[in-house]
Amino acid sequence: MENHFDLIVVGAGAAGLTAGIYLSRAKVSTLILNEGAVGGQMVLTHEIANYPGVESISGYQLARNMKTQAQKFGCVIKSNIKITNLDLEGGTKSVEVNNKEVYTAHAIILATGGKSRTLGVPGEDKFKGKGISYCATCDGDFFQDKEIIVVGGGNSALEEAVSLTKYASKVTIIHQFDNFQALEHYVEEAKNNSKINFIMESKIIEFAGDESLKKVRIQNQATQEITEMIVDGVFIFIGYVPNTEKIGGKVALNNYGEIIVDKNMATNIAGIYAAGDSIAKRYRQVTTAVADGTIAALSASEYINNIKKELHLVSTN
């Protein structure tokens, strides 16, 4: 059965690739299905300097190394697919993808990670790459001597706002609350930078322009007053959301949409495990994703061995 594997991993980020390495090395036939580019958030990271044993490496290279390592052990990786249906119940789990291909397995590891939150307001899609960006290191230099907005109030927003002052003549931070969630030293650094000013308790409600972004409409959350601001660019850093929208209603999630697991990375459904940034946990790092992926792989491997023993007993009785 070409489309049957011992285990399917959903997601090829640090957690999923680690699970792939462990399982394939243990001769558990493994398929990884990934929406988007292999590596997940690692690919978003220009430099990873806190992965033990590797002084400094680009996220892309680390992802590539993990992918090659998994493939060397026989792991099959399919990227840029879309899952159209997931059947997690029963002894045989199945996953249908967008080309109507159906894959089956004894167990599944959900390692779908997280993604940048978008504002979801009119004009955001239209001006992506034409004034709106989610990556300061990628697009900062397009805004040399220009006036830009940074949206957000966490560590990333404040850190990137400061880094963007290398290029921009003026950076306005727009934040929906009246105080910042970022660590105090990020806030201090931003406040001490003469190019940065702040609009608090406010949200962008619309982006407008022609070929490129020209202005935004901003609503004050306290007074509801709406103002317009002429601007060359907007960088959005408003946090991450777990990629569990397709899993909700199938496995148990907490109020934040994160998958609930036990210490073996098992979910509430037998044979379904989860690992990495998509699970309910406090610290989200490559190292923690790799650790979760390892635990999920070892637990799932044990589960599969037991299932195979049972199947063997049934067939020999």
Binding site: G36, A37, V38, G39, V43, L44, T45, H46, S58, G59, Y60, Q61, S79, N80, K82, K128, G129, K130, G131, I132, S133, C135, T137, C138, D139, F142, F143, D210, E211, S212, L213, G233
Partner: protein
């Protein structure tokens, strides 16, 4: 040079030759960053599927990449990669910033046929 498995276009001359020799060309002009890498990966995958299309990349920060940066079709672009689709040497589509597989194949199907 970009660290991808695609053919790299390194100069203005190579760019001109490429357009002369290929009817359908998709060129991704970018850096090794989070907005560009997913597009290269999609292109690497599509190389085997869209045999009538030549998939190449070009480094954004080289002087010769002005052949892309100065195109009238990229006016207003403020996000890398700049992706250009050529048919018989003429630009038929240009996109800015990250695109996923579905977005890329929709353009390839529309502009170059399935």
């Amino acid at each position: 040079m970009l660290n991808t498995n695609l053919t790299h276009v390194l100069s203005e001359q190579e760019h001109a030759k490429l357009l002369q020799e290929n009817e359908n060309v998709m060129i991704c002009c970018g850096r090794m960053g989070p907005m560009c890498i997913p597009v290269y990966e999609v292109m690497e995958e599509l190389e085997g599927e869209y045999t009538k299309v030549k998939f190449v990349d070009m480094e954004f920060d080289t002087a010769d990449a002005k052949v892309i940066r100065n195109l009238p079709q990229v006016r207003g672009f403020q996000g890398i990669p700049f992706v250009i689709y050529y048919k018989n040497g003429k630009v038929v589509k240009a996109t800015s910033s990250i695109q996923n597989r579905e977005q890329v194949t929709a353009i390839l199907d529309e502009k170059f046929g399935k």
